[in-house]
Structures are given as structure tokens and as C-alpha cells.
């Protein structure tokens, strides 16, 4: 997976599935990049400054990314 920052957010490319995705704002990019450092997606969103009212939209965006295998659930060891 490659993440390329762009003025509008970022382009994501999955080398395995050859899928190109778009992050349409910079905040989603921040959330995606910090997912690994947070215990939950909600915590990553809150830390990136996503307000409670905007959470559902971010939840949908992350679900879409998970659906196209751009992000995946953490494997617990």
C-alpha cells in the first residue's frame, strides 16, 4: 500500500489489488496514518480533531477503505 499526500488529501494505491482510492480531505489522511498508534478507530478520529457530530462520516470513510482492503483490522498477538 502506498500513500501519496496531495493538496486535496491523499491518493492510496494498493499494489496487491491494483486499486486506487482517494482520501478527500487531510483529516482522513491524519486518521489513517495514526490508526496503528491508537487503541481504536474512534480514538484515532478524536485525536485528529474529528468532532462527535462528524464521527459517522469518518466511520463510513474508514469502512469503505476497509472494504477495499486499504486498511484492515489489527492482528492481535
Amino acid at each position: 500500500m502506498a500513500v501519496r499526500p496531495e493538496p486535496f488529501g491523499a491518493l492510496l494505491y494498493h499494489f496487491g489489488t491494483r486499486r486506487l482510492s482517494f482520501l478527500k480531505d487531510v483529516t482522513v489522511l491524519t486518521v489513517v496514518r495514526s490508526l496503528a498508534e491508537h487503541p481504536s478507530a474512534r480514538s484515532a478520529c478524536e485525536s485528529a480533531g474529528v468532532t462527535a457530530g462528524a464521527l459517522p462520516a469518518y466511520q463510513r470513510a474508514l469502512a469503505t477503505l476497509a472494504g477495499s482492503e486499504m486498511i484492515h483490522e489489527r492482528v492481535t498477538r
Binding site: R4, F15, L20
Partner: protein, 397 residues
């Protein structure tokens, strides 16, 4: 930063810091002489980029985070360093999709390709039957492509692409192409015939009729994302529902072409001085051309719809393909020659007195193509005529 962010398509029309992907023609040498070749290929250009220059370019593409390159030619696999360059690109996180007529896809090569997760192969075939294909791509080319597909399938290559340029002669064979792709475990890819390269001189006889174009659109809508199109039929969005993809002309904005000698053109269908942005051998390299060329800056400025601006379909088709207009002698701010509302035909009639620009440069062979047959001996007639079988002597050594 002012105001709300632009919609994504508009962002793309203003250009990106680096292409998403680009087409890289590795060589103009080709064992075939297809009548519609976009790059007028045949003979190797003696000035083509060396292995070291190609690797330096891949390094630069890696730094710019170009996600993948569509490698073509000519026939790219006839370059002796082809596999070395593919391996180098993949190792540097530049994905590779390459187009081939199948000449070098032996069972051994197929086995190697089956083992690589990051290389996509596209086998070109322009007829679902031998006579239809060979009339355009030359005698023996159908069997060569089928042999390559058989090798890929036998080696366990999944989802390689069967790549077809839709013409008047094969537009009725779409179901047959789909069946062929299924038979070999391939994915079908249909692309638009462009009047570029040698294609400019046969376009009027080869491009689909208006009725065929409508049937093609309906077929593509019915098959959805199962059939790839490389976004090449965005002018058909004028019929109504857009086809999957970005549906915009990405020339110089999100894509471009690098030719074998390092010249950078706005798109693969626009090999002409008018669309030449620079050369990767210049001081600034490829990034310098992409970011600073005046031509690309022009393409990234808001375009006027010209004669199309008042058309209800303009938001959908955006006036169609720049290269298709250019090489048929139409104004760039007017309708596409294959405008689905028929404005192209009117424009072509009006432009009939205009001599369309000639594609440049021409690497066509000076003699008629010779059918490929294993074991033939045909020494190169010039040092730069790199036929893949040049120097091959059956039974020697």
C-alpha cells in the same frame, strides 16, 4: 486556502504533483507492423534510453510515487534488458503493467510471470478470429497471441489481460472476446481506437460506426467493472450513465507518455511535436518536465468548452479526446470525431478540406512486414533494426 475543496475531478483537471500512472514505451522496435499502431513502431530508435538511464528514471518515478507504469512499445519484450527493468521497477515499488503481442511469452517466461504478484501482462489481440485479427495486426499474430495466452494459463497466471482495440471489424465480436478471455482465465480489456501514429491513416476505415458505438456502450454498461477500459471510452458518457472510471482526459494532468528516447508527451495517443513537453534527459529530469513544462501548465488551466460548451452532454463527455480531435483535423475545443450526439460527423465534414497533422516521428519499417515464423533467418538490414529474431539462426551452435 480559500473556500471549500474542489471536487476530485476538478482537482485532477488542475494536475497532480506526479502522475498516478504513466505509459512508458520502452522501444519502437517491433516484430509486427499493426496498421493502427499508435506509435508508428517498427524500427528501434538508435537513441533509445540505455539500461542505466531507464533505471535512473525508475528511481525518479519511485521518488515521485508514481504508482505504476504501463509499459508498451513497440514490443517491449524485445529489449534485451526488459526483464531486468521489470524486476528493477517492482523492487523500487513502481508497479508494472506491460502490453505485448506475445512473441516472447514462452512457457518459461509465463512461469516466471505467474510467480510475480506485482506485474500485470496484457496480451494484445484485435480480432476474436484469426482473419479479423491478422488483417490488422499481421499474419501469424493471432496464433502468437493465443500461444502466449495458453502458456500463461498453463503456468497458472490469473487475471492477465486480453487487450482489444475496438474496431469496425471486431465490434460485433465482443461476446466472443469475453468467451476467449474466460477460456484462458484472463480479464477482458477493451480500448478505443485512436487516430494516432499509423492509426491516423486507417482511422476512417477502422473506427466503429455510430450504431456499433451505441451497441458497445450498452455492452460495457451491462458488463460493468468486469471489463476494463482504461477509462478510454469517456466520450461515450454523453449517452447518459458514465462508464466506470474517472471519465476525464488525464493528458498532462494525471497521466503522460514517456517514449523510448525519453521524450515526454501529454498522452500515449498524442505523439506529435504539438504535445511534446520535454525530455527526461534534460537537467530537471522527468519531474522537471512534469512540473514545469509550459504545455502541461496549459493543459492544467481551465479549458473552455468551445463549440461544446452549450451542449447538454458537455459535463459528461468534456468534449472527448484531445488526440482524436487533433489527428482528424478538428479544433481542440470542439466535438470529438466520435461525439455520440453526431456533432463529430458534422465537424469532420466541415473540416474535410483541412489536412490533418501528420503523426511524428515515424518508426515504421521501410519494407512490408514479414510474417513471423520460427526458425526463419532474417539478418537486420540496419544496425538499429532490432527484430526480436534478428541474428537468430536455426540449428546453429
Amino acid at each position: 486556502m480559500t473556500g471549500a475543496p474542489l471536487p476530485l475531478v476538478e482537482q485532477f483537471q488542475h494536475g497532480l504533483d506526479a502522475p498516478i500512472c504513466l505509459t512508458w514505451e520502452l522501444t519502437y522496435a517491433c516484430n509486427l507492423s499493426c496498421v493502427h499502431c499508435l506509435s508508428s513502431s517498427g524500427r528501434r530508435d538508435p537513441g533509445e534510453l540505455s539500461t542505466a538511464e531507464c533505471k535512473a528514471l525508475i528511481d525518479e518515478l519511485e521518488r515521485m510515487q508514481v504508482f505504476y507504469v504501463n509499459i508498451g512499445g513497440g514490443e517491449p519484450t524485445v529489449r534485451p534488458d526488459f526483464w531486468e527493468l521489470i524486476d528493477y521497477a517492482v523492487a523500487h515499488r513502481v508497479g508494472v503493467k506491460f502490453s505485448t503481442n506475445g512473441v516472447k511469452i514462452t512457457p518459461e517466461v509465463a512461469g516466471r510471470l505467474a510467480g510475480s504478484d506485482y506485474v500485470d501482462v496484457q496480451i494484445s489481440l484485435d480480432g476474436a478470429t484469426e482473419p479479423v485479427n491478422d488483417a490488422v495486426r499481421g499474419p501469424g499474430s493471432y496464433r502468437m497471441a493465443i500461444r502466449a495466452m495458453r502458456s500463461l494459463a498453463a503456468a497458472g497466471c490469473r487475471d492477465f489481460k486480453l487487450s482489444v482495440v475496438v474496431t469496425r471489424q471486431n465490434a460485433g465480436q465482443l461476446d466472443q472476446f469475453a468467451a476467449l478471455a474466460r477460456e484462458y482465465g484472463a480479464q477482458l480489456r477493451l480500448t478505443r481506437l485512436r487516430p494516432a501514429g499509423r492509426g491516423a491513416s486507417v482511422w476512417h476505415e477502422l473506427h466503429p460506426t455510430a450504431a456499433q458505438q451505441r451497441a458497445l456502450y450498452d455492452w460495457l454498461v451491462a458488463h460493468g467493472e468486469n471489463v476494463l477500459t482504461g477509462d478510454s471510452f469517456f466520450h461515450l458518457a454523453g449517452y447518459g450513465q458514465a462508464l466506470p472510471g474517472l471519465n476525464l482526459c488525464g493528458a498532462g494532468r494525471v497521466v503522460c507518455l514517456i517514449d523510448p528516447v525519453g521524450d515526454v508527451y501529454a498522452c500515449p495517443f498524442a505523439i506529435h511535436d504539438s504535445f511534446l513537453a520535454g525530455n527526461v534527459r534534460a537537467d530537471g529530469g522527468f519531474a522537471g518536465v512534469w512540473r514545469e513544462s509550459e504545455l502541461f501548465a496549459d493543459l492544467r488551466r481551465p479549458q473552455s468548452g468551445g463549440a461544446c460548451a452549450s451542449c447538454s452532454a458537455f459535463d459528461a463527455c468534456r468534449g472527448g479526446c484531445m488526440a482524436a480531435k487533433f489527428f482528424t483535423g478538428l479544433p481542440l475545443d470542439g466535438p470529438d470525431p466520435e461525439c455520440v450526439l453526431g456533432h463529430g460527423e458534422t465537424a469532420l465534414t466541415a473540416a474535410a478540406a483541412v489536412t490533418p497533422p501528420l503523426p511524428s516521428p515515424d518508426h515504421s519499417r521501410r519494407r512490408p512486414p514479414v510474417p513471423v515464423s520460427i526458425g526463419r533467418r532474417r539478418p537486420p538490414d540496419r544496425a538499429c533494426d532490432t527484430d526480436p529474431l534478428a541474428g537468430f539462426t536455426a540449428g546453429a551452435g
